[in-house]
Structures are given as C-alpha cells and as structure tokens.
C-alpha cells in the first residue's frame, strides 16, 4: 500500500489498531480529541471497545480496570487532562499493569491554550503522580512515528507490565504527513497469566497497589526500582544527526527536534560544527550518549518548548551546569533564528 496522508492523531489510532489494542477510553480535550473521534469511528467497527468516559479520572480508571484483565488498552489526553489522570497512572504503575497513554501536549499552566508546548515533560517523565514510580516515555517527531511509537509503546508496556506514555504535542497531533502503514498487524500472544479474568483460575491474581506492611511495601518498591533499572539498561534509545565531529550539540525531542535539525544544517553552512542529539525515549533518558559526547568536550544546548525541564536531565547527564536553553512558551514554536543566536553565542 502506498503511503497515505494522515494526521498525527489519526496515526495514533492506526498504530493502536495494528498493535492489537482492543479498548479505548477517552474524554474530549483539544488538541487530542481527534484520537477520540477516530477511536469512536474505527474501534466498534473492528469489534473493539470504545467508551467516552464522563471524566478524565473515569477514563484512566477504566484503563486500570481493563488493563487488570490483561487487555491492550489505550487512552489519550492533553495537559489538564493528563494532570487529572496522574492519580490513576500512579495506581496502574503501583499495580504493575500495562497500558498506553498518548499525551498531545498543549500550552499551560492552568487552562493555557490549545497551542503546542512540551511542558508536560515533568509530569510524564518524572511521573506527576504520588509514589516512586516511572512511566516509560517515548517521544515521536513525525506522523510516521506517532503510529510506530504507539505500537512500540504496547510492546514495552507489556514487556515490563508498566504504563507507557507517547509524549507528543499539538503540532504532531494535527500535522498531516505521509504514513506508511505497518507491515502487519500484531496478533497479541502475550503472557497475561498475571491478569484477573473473573474465573477461579485467576482468582489469586490480586491486582492492587496497597500493602499495609511497611517491609512488604518496601520490597514492592525495590522490585519496581529494579524493573526501572532494567528498562534503563535495555530500552534507552536516541538518534543523532551530524554528531561525528560536532562541538555544539543541540538536544531536542518531538516537534522541536525537527527545527533543531534544520538549525544544525544552517550552522554547518556558517562553518560552526553543530549536531543534534534526539532522545527517542525520555524515560529512560539517554544519559550515557550525552555523557560520552560531554567527555569528548561537546557543549550542549537544550531546545525545548518548556522552561528547561529537559535541560535538567541534560545537565545531569553531561555532568555540567553549563547547558544552554532555547525555549518558547504559550503555544509558540521555537524559531530557527532563536536557535542560531544561541549557537553563535556558544560557538
């Protein structure tokens, strides 16, 4: 099949359908609503479940319920809705259930507006809910990746029995680009022996996050931390552009990384050795890759539509406070000349 022109939000549902996702639970919020619309159109037709919940909390708790039964479940939201979902995500992480949540980030704080921002970074990557847990966070930067990373998120969620977040933004959700449909649909053949299925065989599979015994609760926490360490070891992913001889490294993800990539080309034309380091996973954050570049003497600029949330991670990985920041807020995209000014300043 030739590539089709598709919007990012639609690509999410295409990826989810190919990944064998069988339930979608949503609530309207701009700029993520098209995911809800597409799910309502295609899920019932394919014999899958679609529910528009009465609230964001209800939607994420429906996810909790269906995930506990071992199903492949998807939810989608944006800024304020993601904030409301945090309690549920914490419970899902605590109970070690797999699910995928797509965040089409908008501008904040408060109501903000419906333009793009990357300010959900902390509540996705650092886990906005209570307790010591982490979600796996993937960061697409194209319509193709909106589809592919949604599929990948299901794999990771089930591999580790953990929530996985696809962190995108209002531009990625609405941008229309050619999409090559996945080669084939996944036939879920996964071990769900841990799930509760409403029969005597699975009655012992308690899905819960409560343990009143302090020692036992600590053991559970340590087990979770060990799992996150395994995820860090196995699943960290990033990609580079013109990094071989780079002296100035732009670190950027999502839609901002597309602009940063163009800035790298322009800087090169102006004789400055710039390169792009693009995390594909934000949790786990690709620390080793940045550390290696730092040890080679590279200097870093974090290019993000937030107030240096990611820069903190870059600083930690690079082992230096000296990391530049190019940021925009309020629904505005980063401009190329902003990045160029910063590169010239650092060079």
């Amino acid at each position: 099949m030739p590539a089709q022109l598709v919007a990012g939000n639609s690509a999410v549902i295409i990826g989810a359908m190919y990944a064998g996702c069988d339930c979608f639970f949503g609530y309207p919020i701009t700029p993520a609503s098209e995911i809800l619309h597409e799910a309502s159109r295609f899920f019932p037709r394919a014999g899958r479940k679609f529910v528009q919940a009465e609230s964001e909390e209800a939607a994420i708790n429906m996810v909790y319920g269906a995930a506990g039964a071992g199903h492949r479940v998807l939810a989608a939201s944006s800024g304020p809705g993601m904030s409301l979902k945090q309690e549920g995500i914490s419970y899902i992480a605590g109970a070690e259930l797999p699910c995928v949540i797509v965040d089409i980030c908008r501008a904040g704080p408060g109501l903000g507006n419906i333009g793009p921002e990357q300010s959900d970074y902390n509540q996705a990557v650092k886990s906005g809910g209570h307790g010591c847990y982490n979600s796996i966070v993937l960061a697409p930067n194209s319509v193709q990746e909106m589809c592919d990373f949604t599929m990948k998120a299901f794999d990771l969620a089930f591999k580790y029995r953990n929530p996985a977040i696809v962190l995108a933004d209002g531009v990625l959700g609405h941008m229309v680009e050619p999409l090559n449909f996945p080669e084939e649909a996944v036939v879920p053949n996964i071990d769900t022996s841990w799930a509760v299925s409403g029969n005597s065989a699975t009655r012992h599979n308690l899905v819960t996050s409560i343990d009143l015994d302090f020692e036992e609760m600590e053991k559970h926490n340590l087990k979770l931390q060990a799992k996150y360490d395994r995820i860090k070891q196995n699943e960290t992913a990033w990609t580079g552009y013109r990094l071989e001889d780079a002296e100035i490294v732009l670190v950027s993800y999502g839609i901002s990384s597309r602009i940063a990539r163009s800035a790298v080309d322009r800087a090169r034309r102006e004789g400055m050795k710039a390169g792009l380091f693009r995390p594909l996973t934000l949790f786990p954050f690709p620390e080793a890759g940045i550390r290696e570049l730092s040890e080679k003497g590279c200097r870093f600029i974090s290019v993000e539509m937030s107030n240096g949330m990611m820069r903190e991670d870059v600083r930690r990985a690079a082992g230096t406070e000296d990391v530049g920041l190019v940021a925009r807020y309020g629904g505005n995209l980063i401009r190329m000349d902003q990045i160029m000014d910063k590169i010239r300043e650092v060079a």
Binding site: P28, H37, Q52, E54, S55
Partner: protein, 291 residues
C-alpha cells in the same frame, strides 16, 4: 433598556444561544453578582485573555470545578456579611459529566448558589463530542451515525431529577425562546436560601447544525413538541408548568437540525422517530403539558 452585563464584542458564533442565556440570567440577577464558570464555549468566547465581556466579577476553573469554586466564593461572601448573588454558569459537559461530583457536593452542603446550565447537549467547545446530556440518536463526533450506528445510543440524563434528589429547593427548566419565563425563574431561584438549579435549552449552531437565524425558533419547537418541558419544582414538587398551546409532532423540531438528518434518510429512521415521539408523549402526560 439598561446596559447588558455581558458586553458586546465577545467571540461566540452568530446564532449561538449561550450569550443570550448569559444576558438573560445577568439581566435578572443584576450587577450585585459573582459568576463562576468552567471551561467551555462560554469561557473561551467571552474571556480570551486579556479581554473580558463580563461586567460582573467572573472566576474560571477547569471543567470539573465550578460548583466547588463557587462554594468557596459563597462562603467568603457570607463571612464578609455581604448579600451578593453567587451564580455558576456552565455547559452540559461540565454539569452532567465531569463536574457531577462537585455539583453533588455543592447541592448537598446547601450553599446559596444558583447553578445555571446552558444545555447545548454535547461538548461543543472541543468539537461536538457526546455528553451525558446528548439526546437519543443525535449525531456527534463520538457517536457518529453510519451503517451500524444510529447516533447517540442513550437517552439524555435527567439532571433536574438528580438535583431534586439532593433536595435542592428550587429546580427549573427554561428556554431562550421564553425570556420572560427564564428571567422570572432566575429571580425566584435567587430568593431561595440554598442551592438552586436551572437548565436552559441553548441550541448550538455548529453542533446541531442549523441556519443562524432560527436559533430561537428551534428552542421554541423543543418546547412545543414536548421534548423540552418548561417545569418548575419547589422542594421537589411541580409548582409550575408551561402549557403547550399548539402541540407539534417531534419531526418538526428534529427536521430543523443536521444532527438528526440521518433519521429522515434511512429506512429504520421511522421507528426511531416513533421512539422519540414516545419520549415527548411521556413528557406531555407526566407534566400535563396539554390541556
């Protein structure tokens, strides 16, 4: 005529019933009023920062919160010994769905707050998704009609009954097609020493899809077909009902709107129209709408 407390220049669609609802409510309530509103068309069109069409104090919070925000406001108004009206004006997504918990709390605690729902029967601000208020078989973006779907599969939630079950002393339904009736109901509600709830039929030009000039006519047809009875309940008892002088079949109302167009096209539509007529007939019998 006195100056409206909702200034012109707001950004609502031409032919939207929501600004009309606000104007009528504020007109009856007067300037000694504080309004709390959730996110929705109202908030987006009347208060794009730094502008505001509001000539009374107005406070915004997200979808699920206006009744809680208003509870805080009302307590401080009382503490200061003021006699200021505290009114929530919110849409049906907030009122029927995500805000239900805080509505219930506000009703049950007995705050002196008037809650006005401008009911346009779906999430219009985010792109016409169904809500708990969407009527049976209406087309929305999350209940699209097609081969295997007739539109929204469920009837509308009975929100006045939920308010009455909370022992809310004053509950009423209203319509922008009956402005005198609506203003009178707002005035009565504000006399009550406790919570009150008014649900206003407020047609949405983009979600219901109709010609801009017929908004009032459509709302009147909702009343005249028995689909939107105008009723007042005081302490749970029906105290007033607007009688229908010229009863009309539901088709006349449904035909005016694109969201029901499929019912007139498909062969199984007739049976659905009959079901909707039965709903109207049940209202007519229940509230004795026709003499």
């Amino acid at each position: 005529m006195e100056k409206s407390l909702l200034a012109p220049g707001h950004r609502a669609c031409a032919g939207c019933a929501m600004p009309t609802t606000i104007k009528l409510v504020l007109d009856a309530a007067g300037p000694n009023t504080i309004v709390a509103s959730p996110t929705g068309c109202l908030e987006v069109t009347t208060t794009p920062f730094p502008e505001s069409a509001w000539c009374v104090p107005w406070i915004h919070s997200l979808f699920e919160n206006p009744a809680a925000v208003a509870s805080g406001v009302e307590l401080m108004v009382k503490r200061r010994g003021h006699d200021t009206n505290v009114i929530v004006i919110g849409g049906d997504g907030s009122t029927f769905d995500i805000g239900m918990g805080s509505n219930s709390g506000m009703f049950e605690r007995g705050h002196k707050i008037l809650y006005v729902c401008y009911d346009n029967e779906a999430y219009m601000n985010t792109g016409v998704q169904r809500s708990g208020s969407t009527p049976f078989c209406a087309n929305t973006t999350t209940t699209p009609w097609g081969k295997e779907s007739l539109g929204n599969p469920r009837p509308k939630k009975d929100m006045p009954a939920i308010a009455i079950a909370h022992r809310v002393p004053y509950v009423a339904t209203a319509s922008i097609a009956y402005p005198v009736d609506l203003r009178r109901k707002v005035k009565r509600a504000l006399q009550v020493n406790g919570p009150s709830y008014i649900q206003v039929n407020a047609p949405c030009i983009t979600g219901w899809t109709f010609e801009a000039g017929i908004m009032v006519e459509i709302s009147r047809l909702a009343v005249e077909t028995g689909l939107w009875p105008l009723v007042e309940w005081v302490n749970g008892e029906v105290t007033e009902v607007k009688k229908i002088r010229m009863l009309k079949p539901v088709d006349e109302y449904l035909k005016t709107q694109g969201r029901y167009r499929h019912l007139f096209k498909r062969p199984d539509g007739a049976a659905i129209l009959k079901q909707i007529q039965d709903m109207a007939d049940a209202n007519i019998a229940k509230y004795q709408l026709v003499d």
